[in-house]
Protein backbone atom coordinates (compact mmCIF):
# COMPACT_ATOMS: atom_id res chain seq x y z
CA UNK A 1 0.00 0.00 0.00
CA UNK A 2 1.64 3.25 -1.12
CA UNK A 3 1.00 6.04 1.40
CA UNK A 4 3.45 8.55 -0.08
CA UNK A 5 2.44 12.08 -0.95
CA UNK A 6 3.70 13.64 -4.17
CA UNK A 7 7.22 15.01 -3.59
CA UNK A 8 6.28 18.72 -3.63
CA UNK A 9 3.35 18.23 -1.27
CA UNK A 10 5.44 16.06 0.98
CA UNK A 11 7.95 18.92 1.39
CA UNK A 12 5.12 21.34 2.09
CA UNK A 13 3.63 19.04 4.72
CA UNK A 14 7.04 18.65 6.35
CA UNK A 15 7.68 22.40 6.56
CA UNK A 16 4.21 22.96 8.00
CA UNK A 17 4.88 20.27 10.59
CA UNK A 18 8.13 21.99 11.55
CA UNK A 19 6.37 25.35 11.84
CA UNK A 20 3.75 23.83 14.08
CA UNK A 21 6.38 22.23 16.28
CA UNK A 22 8.22 25.55 16.70
CA UNK A 23 5.06 27.40 17.66
CA UNK A 24 4.06 24.73 20.16
CA UNK A 25 7.31 25.39 22.05
CA UNK A 26 5.89 28.76 23.09
CA UNK A 27 2.17 28.04 23.11
CA UNK A 28 1.35 25.06 25.30
CA UNK A 29 -1.91 23.15 25.40
CA UNK A 30 -3.59 24.98 22.52
CA UNK A 31 -3.23 22.45 19.69
CA UNK A 32 -6.56 23.28 18.06
CA UNK A 33 -5.81 27.00 18.15
CA UNK A 34 -2.41 26.42 16.50
CA UNK A 35 -4.02 24.27 13.82
CA UNK A 36 -6.61 26.93 13.03
CA UNK A 37 -4.01 29.72 12.92
CA UNK A 38 -1.86 27.69 10.52
CA UNK A 39 -4.88 26.85 8.36
CA UNK A 40 -5.60 30.59 8.12
CA UNK A 41 -2.00 31.31 7.12
CA UNK A 42 -2.10 28.53 4.53
CA UNK A 43 -5.38 29.74 3.00
CA UNK A 44 -4.24 33.35 2.80
CA UNK A 45 -7.22 34.38 4.91
CA UNK A 46 -7.50 36.40 8.09
CA UNK A 47 -8.31 35.18 11.58
CA UNK A 48 -9.98 36.69 14.60
CA UNK A 49 -8.82 35.18 17.87
CA UNK A 50 -11.31 35.55 20.68
CA UNK A 51 -10.75 34.73 24.33
CA UNK A 52 -10.49 36.18 27.78
CA UNK A 53 -7.33 38.12 28.64
CA UNK A 54 -4.30 35.99 29.44
CA UNK A 55 -4.90 32.84 27.39
CA UNK A 56 -2.00 33.44 24.93
CA UNK A 57 -3.84 35.03 22.00
CA UNK A 58 -1.16 37.61 21.30
CA UNK A 59 1.59 35.14 22.16
CA UNK A 60 0.29 32.72 19.52
CA UNK A 61 0.55 35.34 16.77
CA UNK A 62 3.93 36.55 17.98
CA UNK A 63 5.21 32.98 17.96
CA UNK A 64 3.95 32.59 14.39
CA UNK A 65 5.66 35.83 13.38
CA UNK A 66 8.91 34.62 14.92
CA UNK A 67 8.71 31.23 13.18
CA UNK A 68 7.96 32.75 9.76
CA UNK A 69 10.66 35.16 8.63
CA UNK A 70 8.59 37.96 7.25
CA UNK A 71 7.69 41.56 8.06
CA UNK A 72 5.35 41.73 11.02
CA UNK A 73 3.69 44.85 12.40
CA UNK A 74 1.44 45.28 15.36
CA UNK A 75 -1.33 47.76 16.10
CA UNK A 76 -2.68 48.16 19.60
CA UNK A 77 -6.28 49.23 19.06
CA UNK A 78 -7.53 51.93 21.41
CA UNK A 79 -10.72 54.01 21.54
CA UNK A 80 -8.92 57.06 20.03
CA UNK A 81 -7.24 55.20 17.14
CA UNK A 82 -7.93 56.79 13.73
CA UNK A 83 -8.26 55.04 10.31
CA UNK A 84 -5.19 56.97 9.05
CA UNK A 85 -3.24 55.43 11.90
CA UNK A 86 -3.79 52.05 10.23
CA UNK A 87 -3.47 52.67 6.48
CA UNK A 88 -1.32 55.80 6.50
CA UNK A 89 -1.72 59.31 5.12
CA UNK A 90 -0.14 61.85 2.75
CA UNK A 91 2.07 64.28 4.62
CA UNK A 92 3.25 67.59 3.12
CA UNK A 93 7.03 67.62 2.84
CA UNK A 94 8.33 71.20 3.11
CA UNK A 95 11.73 70.29 1.72
CA UNK A 96 10.32 68.98 -1.58
CA UNK A 97 7.20 71.15 -1.48
CA UNK A 98 5.02 68.12 -2.22
CA UNK A 99 2.94 65.48 -0.50
CA UNK A 100 4.71 62.29 0.52
CA UNK A 101 2.99 59.02 1.45
CA UNK A 102 3.51 58.09 5.05
CA UNK A 103 2.48 54.41 5.10
CA UNK A 104 0.71 52.92 8.09
CA UNK A 105 1.28 49.53 9.70
CA UNK A 106 -1.06 47.92 7.15
CA UNK A 107 1.91 47.85 4.76
CA UNK A 108 3.33 44.60 6.06
CA UNK A 109 3.23 40.82 5.55
CA UNK A 110 1.59 39.85 8.84
CA UNK A 111 -0.44 42.39 10.76
CA UNK A 112 -1.31 41.77 14.38
CA UNK A 113 -4.38 43.85 15.26
CA UNK A 114 -4.34 43.53 19.00
CA UNK A 115 -7.65 43.97 20.83
CA UNK A 116 -9.43 45.08 17.67
CA UNK A 117 -12.72 45.56 19.47
CA UNK A 118 -11.33 48.36 21.65
CA UNK A 119 -11.56 50.76 18.67
CA UNK A 120 -14.84 52.13 17.30
CA UNK A 121 -16.42 50.70 14.12
CA UNK A 122 -15.12 53.49 11.84
CA UNK A 123 -11.54 52.59 12.67
CA UNK A 124 -12.18 48.86 12.46
CA UNK A 125 -13.66 49.44 9.01
CA UNK A 126 -10.37 50.93 7.82
CA UNK A 127 -9.10 47.37 7.64
CA UNK A 128 -12.05 46.20 5.48
CA UNK A 129 -10.62 47.17 2.10
CA UNK A 130 -7.18 45.95 3.03
CA UNK A 131 -8.46 42.56 4.13
CA UNK A 132 -10.88 42.05 1.25
CA UNK A 133 -8.99 43.57 -1.67
CA UNK A 134 -5.34 43.41 -0.69
CA UNK A 135 -4.84 47.13 -1.23
CA UNK A 136 -5.70 50.45 0.44
CA UNK A 137 -6.83 53.77 -1.02
CA UNK A 138 -5.32 56.95 0.37
CA UNK A 139 -6.51 60.31 -1.01
CA UNK A 140 -7.99 58.54 -4.04
CA UNK A 141 -4.82 56.66 -4.90
CA UNK A 142 -4.74 52.86 -4.64
CA UNK A 143 -1.71 51.31 -2.98
CA UNK A 144 -1.16 47.52 -3.17
CA UNK A 145 -0.24 45.62 -0.03
CA UNK A 146 2.08 42.65 0.41
CA UNK A 147 1.08 39.56 -1.61
CA UNK A 148 0.96 37.55 1.62
CA UNK A 149 -0.82 40.27 3.65
CA UNK A 150 -2.59 38.52 6.51
CA UNK A 151 -4.41 40.01 9.48
CA UNK A 152 -4.51 38.24 12.82
CA UNK A 153 -6.80 40.17 15.10
CA UNK A 154 -7.40 39.44 18.75
CA UNK A 155 -10.37 40.48 20.82
CA UNK A 156 -11.84 39.97 24.24
CA UNK A 157 -15.44 38.79 24.42
CA UNK A 158 -17.93 41.64 24.00
CA UNK A 159 -19.33 41.04 27.48
CA UNK A 160 -16.24 42.84 28.82
CA UNK A 161 -16.35 46.58 29.44
CA UNK A 162 -14.89 49.13 27.02
CA UNK A 163 -15.33 47.07 23.86
CA UNK A 164 -17.20 47.64 20.55
CA UNK A 165 -18.48 44.54 18.82
CA UNK A 166 -17.35 44.14 15.21
CA UNK A 167 -20.02 44.78 12.54
CA UNK A 168 -21.16 41.71 10.55
CA UNK A 169 -19.50 43.00 7.37
CA UNK A 170 -16.20 43.27 9.20
CA UNK A 171 -16.55 39.83 10.80
CA UNK A 172 -17.35 38.25 7.43
CA UNK A 173 -13.94 39.31 6.12
CA UNK A 174 -12.28 36.93 8.57
CA UNK A 175 -11.80 33.40 7.29
CA UNK A 176 -12.34 32.08 10.77
CA UNK A 177 -13.03 33.06 14.32
CA UNK A 178 -10.68 31.10 16.55
CA UNK A 179 -11.95 30.65 20.08
CA UNK A 180 -9.01 30.48 22.46
CA UNK A 181 -10.06 28.50 25.54
CA UNK A 182 -8.32 28.14 28.88
CA UNK A 183 -5.51 25.56 28.63
CA UNK A 184 -6.02 22.22 30.32
CA UNK A 185 -4.62 21.62 33.81
CA UNK A 186 -1.50 19.83 32.58
CA UNK A 187 -0.55 22.58 30.11
CA UNK A 188 -1.19 25.31 32.66
CA UNK A 189 0.97 23.53 35.21
CA UNK A 190 3.80 23.24 32.65
CA UNK A 191 3.65 26.99 31.94
CA UNK A 192 3.73 27.85 35.65
CA UNK A 193 6.67 25.49 36.24
CA UNK A 194 8.64 26.99 33.33
CA UNK A 195 8.18 30.51 34.68
CA UNK A 196 9.03 29.23 38.17
CA UNK A 197 12.33 27.86 36.80
CA UNK A 198 13.17 31.33 35.43
CA UNK A 199 12.00 31.13 31.81
CA UNK A 200 10.49 34.38 30.45
CA UNK A 201 6.68 34.29 30.62
CA UNK A 202 6.18 34.67 26.88
CA UNK A 203 9.01 32.21 26.02
CA UNK A 204 9.93 34.21 22.89
CA UNK A 205 12.79 36.45 23.97
CA UNK A 206 15.15 33.57 24.72
CA UNK A 207 15.13 32.23 21.16
CA UNK A 208 12.96 29.24 21.99
CA UNK A 209 11.05 29.69 18.72
CA UNK A 210 13.39 29.57 15.71
CA UNK A 211 12.54 30.99 12.28
CA UNK A 212 11.83 27.93 10.13
CA UNK A 213 9.96 29.40 7.16
CA UNK A 214 10.77 32.20 4.76
CA UNK A 215 8.40 34.36 2.77
CA UNK A 216 9.23 32.30 -0.33
CA UNK A 217 8.39 29.11 1.56
CA UNK A 218 5.08 30.60 2.66
CA UNK A 219 4.19 31.47 -0.92
CA UNK A 220 5.16 27.98 -2.07
CA UNK A 221 3.00 26.44 0.63
CA UNK A 222 0.02 28.54 -0.42
CA UNK A 223 0.58 27.65 -4.06
CA UNK A 224 0.33 23.96 -3.16
CA UNK A 225 -3.18 24.31 -1.76
CA UNK A 226 -5.05 24.01 -5.09
CA UNK A 227 -3.41 20.60 -5.56
CA UNK A 228 -5.40 19.20 -2.65
CA UNK A 229 -8.33 17.23 -4.07
CA UNK A 230 -11.93 17.18 -2.85
CA UNK A 231 -14.31 14.43 -3.96
CA UNK A 232 -17.65 15.57 -5.40
CA UNK A 233 -19.49 13.77 -2.59
CA UNK A 234 -17.42 15.61 0.03
CA UNK A 235 -18.19 18.95 -1.63
CA UNK A 236 -21.89 18.00 -1.62
CA UNK A 237 -21.60 17.22 2.08
CA UNK A 238 -20.01 20.61 2.75
CA UNK A 239 -22.62 22.49 0.73
CA UNK A 240 -25.44 20.60 2.47
CA UNK A 241 -24.09 21.71 5.84
CA UNK A 242 -23.86 25.36 4.77
CA UNK A 243 -27.32 25.29 3.21
CA UNK A 244 -28.77 23.73 6.35
CA UNK A 245 -27.68 26.82 8.30
CA UNK A 246 -30.23 28.81 6.30
CA UNK A 247 -33.15 26.54 7.21
CA UNK A 248 -32.47 26.02 10.91
CA UNK A 249 -35.21 27.32 13.22
CA UNK A 250 -32.68 29.02 15.51
CA UNK A 251 -30.92 30.89 12.70
CA UNK A 252 -32.08 34.27 11.44
CA UNK A 253 -29.37 34.67 8.78
CA UNK A 254 -27.45 31.62 7.59
CA UNK A 255 -23.99 31.34 6.09
CA UNK A 256 -23.49 32.69 2.57
CA UNK A 257 -21.81 31.00 -0.44
CA UNK A 258 -18.65 32.77 0.71
CA UNK A 259 -18.94 30.56 3.77
CA UNK A 260 -18.98 27.47 1.54
CA UNK A 261 -15.90 28.67 -0.37
CA UNK A 262 -13.99 29.49 2.81
CA UNK A 263 -15.00 26.20 4.44
CA UNK A 264 -13.65 24.20 1.50
CA UNK A 265 -10.42 26.19 1.53
CA UNK A 266 -9.98 25.63 5.26
CA UNK A 267 -10.74 21.91 4.89
CA UNK A 268 -8.10 21.63 2.15
CA UNK A 269 -5.54 23.44 4.29
CA UNK A 270 -6.27 21.15 7.22
CA UNK A 271 -5.82 18.13 4.96
CA UNK A 272 -2.42 19.42 3.85
CA UNK A 273 -1.47 20.14 7.45
CA UNK A 274 -2.35 16.51 8.23
CA UNK A 275 -0.09 15.28 5.41
CA UNK A 276 -2.88 14.45 2.94
CA UNK A 277 -3.60 15.72 -0.54
CA UNK A 278 -7.33 15.00 -0.32
CA UNK A 279 -10.18 16.28 1.85
CA UNK A 280 -12.27 14.02 4.08
CA UNK A 281 -15.58 14.78 5.83
CA UNK A 282 -13.58 14.96 9.07
CA UNK A 283 -11.71 18.00 7.70
CA UNK A 284 -15.01 19.68 6.93
CA UNK A 285 -16.39 18.96 10.41
CA UNK A 286 -13.20 20.16 12.13
CA UNK A 287 -13.32 23.51 10.32
CA UNK A 288 -17.08 24.00 10.42
CA UNK A 289 -17.48 25.92 13.69
CA UNK A 290 -14.53 28.33 13.29
CA UNK A 291 -15.38 29.09 9.65
CA UNK A 292 -19.20 29.24 9.79
CA UNK A 293 -19.93 30.21 13.38
CA UNK A 294 -19.39 33.96 13.00
CA UNK A 295 -21.24 34.05 9.66
CA UNK A 296 -24.58 33.18 11.22
CA UNK A 297 -27.04 35.36 13.10
CA UNK A 298 -29.21 33.55 15.64
CA UNK A 299 -32.83 34.48 16.27
CA UNK A 300 -33.63 36.55 19.35
CA UNK A 301 -35.42 33.54 20.87
CA UNK A 302 -32.35 31.35 20.45
CA UNK A 303 -30.10 34.04 21.93
CA UNK A 304 -32.42 34.44 24.93
CA UNK A 305 -32.54 30.66 25.37
CA UNK A 306 -28.75 30.72 25.58
CA UNK A 307 -28.10 28.70 22.41
CA UNK A 308 -24.64 29.09 20.92
CA UNK A 309 -23.66 29.03 17.26
CA UNK A 310 -21.51 25.98 17.90
CA UNK A 311 -24.48 24.10 19.36
CA UNK A 312 -26.65 25.03 16.39
CA UNK A 313 -23.97 23.85 13.96
CA UNK A 314 -23.56 20.58 15.82
CA UNK A 315 -27.31 20.01 15.68
CA UNK A 316 -27.11 20.62 11.93
CA UNK A 317 -24.38 17.98 11.66
CA UNK A 318 -26.76 15.45 13.19
CA UNK A 319 -29.07 15.88 10.19
CA UNK A 320 -26.57 15.72 7.33
CA UNK A 321 -25.47 12.31 6.07
CA UNK A 322 -21.76 11.66 5.74
CA UNK A 323 -20.80 10.36 2.28
CA UNK A 324 -19.24 6.93 2.61
Amino acid sequence: MNHELPTELSAVARSLGTLRTEMSKAVLGQDEVLEQVLVTLLCGGHALLEGVPGVAKTLTIRALAQAVSCVVKRIQFTPDLMPSDIVGTNVFDLSTNSFRLHTGPAFTDLLLADEINRAPAKTQAALLEAMAEGHVTIDGVRHPLSPVFTVFATQNPVEFEGTYSLPEAQQDRFLMKVRVPYPDAQAERSVVEMVHRGAPPDRLDDGTVRPVMTLADLRAVRAALPRVQAEATVIDYLVNIVRATRDHESVLVGASPRGSIFLLGAAKARALLSGRDFVTPDDVVAMMVPVLGHRMTLTAEAEIAGETRAEVLRSILDKVEVPR
Binding site: M1, N2, H3, Q229, E231, V234, R276, D277, F278, V279, T280, P281, D282, V285, L317, D318, K319, V320, E321, V322, P323, R324
Partner: protein, 281 residues
Protein backbone atom coordinates in the same frame (compact mmCIF):
# COMPACT_ATOMS: atom_id res chain seq x y z
CA UNK B 1 -47.66 -4.62 5.20
CA UNK B 2 -48.01 -7.25 7.91
CA UNK B 3 -49.31 -4.67 10.34
CA UNK B 4 -51.92 -3.53 7.86
CA UNK B 5 -53.04 -7.13 7.32
CA UNK B 6 -53.27 -7.77 11.05
CA UNK B 7 -55.27 -4.58 11.52
CA UNK B 8 -57.64 -5.67 8.76
CA UNK B 9 -58.12 -9.05 10.42
CA UNK B 10 -58.81 -7.45 13.78
CA UNK B 11 -61.30 -5.08 12.18
CA UNK B 12 -63.08 -8.03 10.56
CA UNK B 13 -63.21 -9.83 13.91
CA UNK B 14 -64.69 -6.81 15.66
CA UNK B 15 -67.14 -6.47 12.81
CA UNK B 16 -68.14 -10.11 13.30
CA UNK B 17 -68.75 -9.48 16.98
CA UNK B 18 -70.68 -6.37 16.17
CA UNK B 19 -72.84 -8.46 13.85
CA UNK B 20 -73.50 -10.81 16.76
CA UNK B 21 -74.50 -7.83 18.84
CA UNK B 22 -76.87 -6.74 16.12
CA UNK B 23 -78.35 -10.22 16.07
CA UNK B 24 -78.76 -10.00 19.82
CA UNK B 25 -80.53 -6.71 19.53
CA UNK B 26 -82.73 -8.17 16.83
CA UNK B 27 -83.54 -11.07 19.12
CA UNK B 28 -84.46 -8.62 21.86
CA UNK B 29 -86.67 -6.85 19.41
CA UNK B 30 -88.58 -9.96 18.44
CA UNK B 31 -89.62 -10.59 22.01
CA UNK B 32 -90.94 -7.09 22.54
CA UNK B 33 -94.13 -5.46 21.43
CA UNK B 34 -93.98 -1.90 20.25
CA UNK B 35 -95.14 0.38 23.04
CA UNK B 36 -96.93 3.63 22.36
CA UNK B 37 -94.56 6.55 22.24
CA UNK B 38 -95.36 9.22 24.81
CA UNK B 39 -95.96 12.54 23.16
CA UNK B 40 -93.59 15.34 24.01
CA UNK B 41 -95.88 18.08 25.11
CA UNK B 42 -93.77 19.99 27.62
CA UNK B 43 -91.48 22.95 27.02
CA UNK B 44 -89.07 21.96 29.83
CA UNK B 45 -86.08 20.39 28.03
CA UNK B 46 -85.23 18.03 30.94
CA UNK B 47 -88.80 16.72 31.05
CA UNK B 48 -88.81 16.49 27.27
CA UNK B 49 -85.61 14.47 27.35
CA UNK B 50 -86.94 12.10 30.00
CA UNK B 51 -90.11 11.57 27.94
CA UNK B 52 -87.96 10.63 24.98
CA UNK B 53 -86.01 8.23 27.18
CA UNK B 54 -89.29 6.47 28.08
CA UNK B 55 -89.44 5.12 24.53
CA UNK B 56 -88.82 1.33 24.13
CA UNK B 57 -85.54 1.81 22.33
CA UNK B 58 -84.08 3.38 25.50
CA UNK B 59 -85.66 1.06 28.09
CA UNK B 60 -82.93 -1.58 28.03
CA UNK B 61 -80.36 1.16 28.32
CA UNK B 62 -82.19 2.75 31.25
CA UNK B 63 -82.45 -0.57 33.06
CA UNK B 64 -78.64 -0.75 33.11
CA UNK B 65 -78.30 2.63 34.82
CA UNK B 66 -78.05 3.08 38.56
CA UNK B 67 -81.56 2.98 39.86
CA UNK B 68 -84.81 4.46 38.67
CA UNK B 69 -83.89 8.04 39.60
CA UNK B 70 -81.30 8.28 36.90
CA UNK B 71 -81.25 11.64 35.13
CA UNK B 72 -79.32 12.69 32.12
CA UNK B 73 -77.28 15.77 33.00
CA UNK B 74 -76.75 16.85 29.46
CA UNK B 75 -77.93 15.65 26.08
CA UNK B 76 -74.27 15.60 25.09
CA UNK B 77 -73.61 12.69 27.41
CA UNK B 78 -75.87 10.50 25.33
CA UNK B 79 -74.05 11.53 22.18
CA UNK B 80 -70.79 10.71 23.84
CA UNK B 81 -71.96 7.25 24.96
CA UNK B 82 -73.01 6.50 21.43
CA UNK B 83 -69.86 7.87 19.85
CA UNK B 84 -68.35 5.77 17.10
CA UNK B 85 -65.30 4.96 19.20
CA UNK B 86 -67.33 3.29 21.91
CA UNK B 87 -69.99 1.68 19.72
CA UNK B 88 -68.12 -1.58 18.97
CA UNK B 89 -67.34 -2.05 22.67
CA UNK B 90 -70.92 -1.25 23.64
CA UNK B 91 -72.14 -3.78 21.06
CA UNK B 92 -69.77 -6.43 22.35
CA UNK B 93 -70.86 -5.64 25.92
CA UNK B 94 -74.50 -5.96 24.91
CA UNK B 95 -73.76 -9.21 23.14
CA UNK B 96 -72.12 -10.78 26.18
CA UNK B 97 -74.83 -9.50 28.47
CA UNK B 98 -77.46 -10.96 26.20
CA UNK B 99 -75.65 -14.28 25.82
CA UNK B 100 -75.02 -14.74 29.51
CA UNK B 101 -78.22 -13.24 30.83
CA UNK B 102 -80.19 -15.81 32.90
CA UNK B 103 -83.57 -16.72 31.62
CA UNK B 104 -85.12 -15.42 34.85
CA UNK B 105 -84.11 -11.87 33.95
CA UNK B 106 -84.91 -12.23 30.29
CA UNK B 107 -87.91 -10.27 29.07
CA UNK B 108 -90.94 -12.53 29.20
CA UNK B 109 -93.40 -12.14 26.38
CA UNK B 110 -96.25 -14.54 27.00
CA UNK B 111 -98.30 -13.15 24.16
CA UNK B 112 -95.53 -14.16 21.74
CA UNK B 113 -94.56 -17.76 22.48
CA UNK B 114 -92.59 -18.12 19.25
CA UNK B 115 -90.39 -15.20 20.28
CA UNK B 116 -88.46 -17.34 22.74
CA UNK B 117 -87.75 -19.98 20.12
CA UNK B 118 -86.52 -17.44 17.63
CA UNK B 119 -84.44 -15.76 20.29
CA UNK B 120 -82.84 -19.11 21.18
CA UNK B 121 -82.05 -19.80 17.54
CA UNK B 122 -80.50 -16.38 17.11
CA UNK B 123 -78.53 -16.95 20.30
CA UNK B 124 -77.15 -20.18 18.90
CA UNK B 125 -76.15 -18.43 15.66
CA UNK B 126 -74.53 -15.62 17.68
CA UNK B 127 -72.59 -18.16 19.77
CA UNK B 128 -71.39 -19.88 16.61
CA UNK B 129 -70.28 -16.61 14.98
CA UNK B 130 -68.58 -15.56 18.21
CA UNK B 131 -66.78 -18.89 18.46
CA UNK B 132 -65.56 -18.64 14.87
CA UNK B 133 -64.39 -15.06 15.46
CA UNK B 134 -62.51 -16.03 18.62
CA UNK B 135 -60.92 -19.01 16.89
CA UNK B 136 -59.86 -16.79 13.99
CA UNK B 137 -58.38 -14.25 16.41
CA UNK B 138 -56.48 -16.96 18.28
CA UNK B 139 -54.98 -18.33 15.05
CA UNK B 140 -54.08 -14.82 13.92
CA UNK B 141 -52.41 -14.04 17.25
CA UNK B 142 -50.49 -17.32 17.16
CA UNK B 143 -49.19 -16.64 13.66
CA UNK B 144 -48.10 -13.12 14.58
CA UNK B 145 -46.31 -14.30 17.72
CA UNK B 146 -44.49 -17.22 16.14
CA UNK B 147 -43.11 -15.03 13.32
CA UNK B 148 -39.33 -14.51 13.81
CA UNK B 149 -38.61 -11.04 15.14
CA UNK B 150 -35.11 -10.88 13.69
CA UNK B 151 -35.50 -8.95 10.49
CA UNK B 152 -31.84 -8.05 10.26
CA UNK B 153 -30.30 -8.20 6.80
CA UNK B 154 -28.33 -11.25 7.87
CA UNK B 155 -31.56 -13.10 8.59
CA UNK B 156 -32.92 -12.79 5.09
CA UNK B 157 -31.86 -13.39 1.55
CA UNK B 158 -31.51 -10.23 -0.46
CA UNK B 159 -32.00 -9.69 -4.13
CA UNK B 160 -29.19 -8.42 -6.31
CA UNK B 161 -31.03 -5.09 -6.56
CA UNK B 162 -31.25 -4.76 -2.76
CA UNK B 163 -27.51 -5.32 -2.41
CA UNK B 164 -26.89 -2.81 -5.17
CA UNK B 165 -29.11 -0.27 -3.42
CA UNK B 166 -27.29 -0.86 -0.12
CA UNK B 167 -23.96 -0.29 -1.85
CA UNK B 168 -25.34 2.83 -3.51
CA UNK B 169 -26.57 4.28 -0.22
CA UNK B 170 -23.39 3.47 1.70
CA UNK B 171 -25.43 2.61 4.77
CA UNK B 172 -23.33 0.11 6.72
CA UNK B 173 -26.37 -1.34 8.46
CA UNK B 174 -28.21 -2.05 5.21
CA UNK B 175 -26.40 -5.41 5.08
CA UNK B 176 -24.86 -7.74 7.62
CA UNK B 177 -21.09 -8.12 7.92
CA UNK B 178 -21.13 -11.43 6.02
CA UNK B 179 -23.18 -9.96 3.22
CA UNK B 180 -20.78 -7.02 2.86
CA UNK B 181 -17.86 -9.45 2.75
CA UNK B 182 -19.63 -11.49 0.06
CA UNK B 183 -20.24 -8.29 -1.88
CA UNK B 184 -16.54 -7.42 -1.51
CA UNK B 185 -15.64 -10.82 -3.02
CA UNK B 186 -18.02 -10.28 -5.90
CA UNK B 187 -16.59 -6.80 -6.56
CA UNK B 188 -13.05 -8.20 -6.39
CA UNK B 189 -13.96 -10.69 -9.10
CA UNK B 190 -15.07 -7.70 -11.19
CA UNK B 191 -11.70 -5.99 -10.49
CA UNK B 192 -13.49 -2.96 -8.95
CA UNK B 193 -10.97 -2.64 -6.13
CA UNK B 194 -12.02 0.83 -4.94
CA UNK B 195 -15.51 -0.50 -4.32
CA UNK B 196 -14.01 -3.57 -2.60
CA UNK B 197 -12.28 -1.33 -0.05
CA UNK B 198 -15.56 0.43 0.55
CA UNK B 199 -17.50 -2.82 1.00
CA UNK B 200 -14.87 -4.06 3.45
CA UNK B 201 -15.02 -0.82 5.45
CA UNK B 202 -18.80 -0.99 5.58
CA UNK B 203 -18.50 -4.62 6.70
CA UNK B 204 -16.23 -3.42 9.50
CA UNK B 205 -18.67 -0.70 10.61
CA UNK B 206 -21.57 -3.14 10.45
CA UNK B 207 -19.69 -5.74 12.51
CA UNK B 208 -18.47 -3.28 15.14
CA UNK B 209 -21.97 -1.85 15.49
CA UNK B 210 -23.46 -5.33 15.88
CA UNK B 211 -21.12 -6.16 18.77
CA UNK B 212 -21.68 -2.75 20.38
CA UNK B 213 -18.17 -1.32 19.90
CA UNK B 214 -19.45 1.66 17.94
CA UNK B 215 -22.84 3.25 17.55
CA UNK B 216 -23.45 3.63 13.85
CA UNK B 217 -25.40 6.60 12.53
CA UNK B 218 -25.34 7.95 8.99
CA UNK B 219 -24.31 11.41 10.25
CA UNK B 220 -21.08 10.47 12.01
CA UNK B 221 -17.66 10.80 10.36
CA UNK B 222 -15.17 7.93 10.17
CA UNK B 223 -12.81 9.36 12.77
CA UNK B 224 -15.68 10.12 15.11
CA UNK B 225 -16.17 6.33 15.21
CA UNK B 226 -12.50 5.79 15.96
CA UNK B 227 -12.53 8.40 18.76
CA UNK B 228 -15.64 6.88 20.32
CA UNK B 229 -14.53 3.25 19.92
CA UNK B 230 -15.46 1.24 23.01
CA UNK B 231 -12.56 -1.11 23.28
CA UNK B 232 -8.86 -1.53 24.08
CA UNK B 233 -6.24 0.81 22.61
CA UNK B 234 -4.72 -1.79 20.28
CA UNK B 235 -8.11 -2.49 18.69
CA UNK B 236 -8.70 1.24 18.30
CA UNK B 237 -5.30 1.57 16.63
CA UNK B 238 -6.15 -1.17 14.13
CA UNK B 239 -9.51 0.47 13.52
CA UNK B 240 -7.70 3.78 12.92
CA UNK B 241 -5.31 2.17 10.43
CA UNK B 242 -8.19 0.63 8.49
CA UNK B 243 -10.01 3.98 8.53
CA UNK B 244 -6.91 5.75 7.17
CA UNK B 245 -6.73 3.18 4.40
CA UNK B 246 -10.38 3.63 3.50
CA UNK B 247 -10.06 7.42 3.53
CA UNK B 248 -7.11 7.25 1.15
CA UNK B 249 -8.79 4.95 -1.33
CA UNK B 250 -12.32 6.31 -1.14
CA UNK B 251 -11.92 10.08 -0.62
CA UNK B 252 -8.36 10.37 -1.95
CA UNK B 253 -8.93 8.10 -4.95
CA UNK B 254 -5.54 6.53 -4.38
CA UNK B 255 -4.88 3.50 -6.58
CA UNK B 256 -6.36 0.40 -5.02
CA UNK B 257 -4.92 -2.93 -6.06
CA UNK B 258 -5.98 -6.48 -5.40
CA UNK B 259 -2.59 -7.38 -3.87
CA UNK B 260 -3.46 -6.31 -0.34
CA UNK B 261 -7.07 -7.40 -0.34
CA UNK B 262 -6.48 -10.69 1.46
CA UNK B 263 -4.53 -8.91 4.18
CA UNK B 264 -7.18 -6.21 4.44
CA UNK B 265 -10.02 -8.70 4.56
CA UNK B 266 -8.19 -10.69 7.21
CA UNK B 267 -7.68 -7.53 9.30
CA UNK B 268 -11.35 -6.61 9.05
CA UNK B 269 -12.45 -10.11 10.04
CA UNK B 270 -9.91 -10.27 12.86
CA UNK B 271 -10.92 -6.90 14.33
CA UNK B 272 -14.59 -7.82 14.15
CA UNK B 273 -13.85 -11.14 15.88
CA UNK B 274 -11.73 -9.46 18.53
CA UNK B 275 -14.38 -6.85 19.16
CA UNK B 276 -16.93 -9.62 19.57
CA UNK B 277 -14.66 -11.24 22.14
CA UNK B 278 -13.75 -14.10 19.87
CA UNK B 279 -10.03 -13.51 19.77
CA UNK B 280 -7.08 -12.43 21.82
CA UNK B 281 -7.12 -8.69 22.11
Amino acid sequence: MTLARTTLHLTLSVAAMSSCATLANAAEGTGRAAAPVPAATTDDPHQHLNQILQRPMFRAWRSRQEGPDFRVESPLSEDFDGSWIRKPFTWIGDLFEWLFRSRRNAPRLPNLPSGDGLSTALKAVAWAVLGVALLFLTILLYRVLRRPTATSPAARLLSRQQVRDAMESGDALALGTGQWLDEADRLASEQDFRAVYRALYLALLSGLHTVGKIEHTRNRTNWAYVERYRGPANERQTFGELTTLFDRVWYGRKPASGDDLDVLRHKVALLTQKAAGGGAA
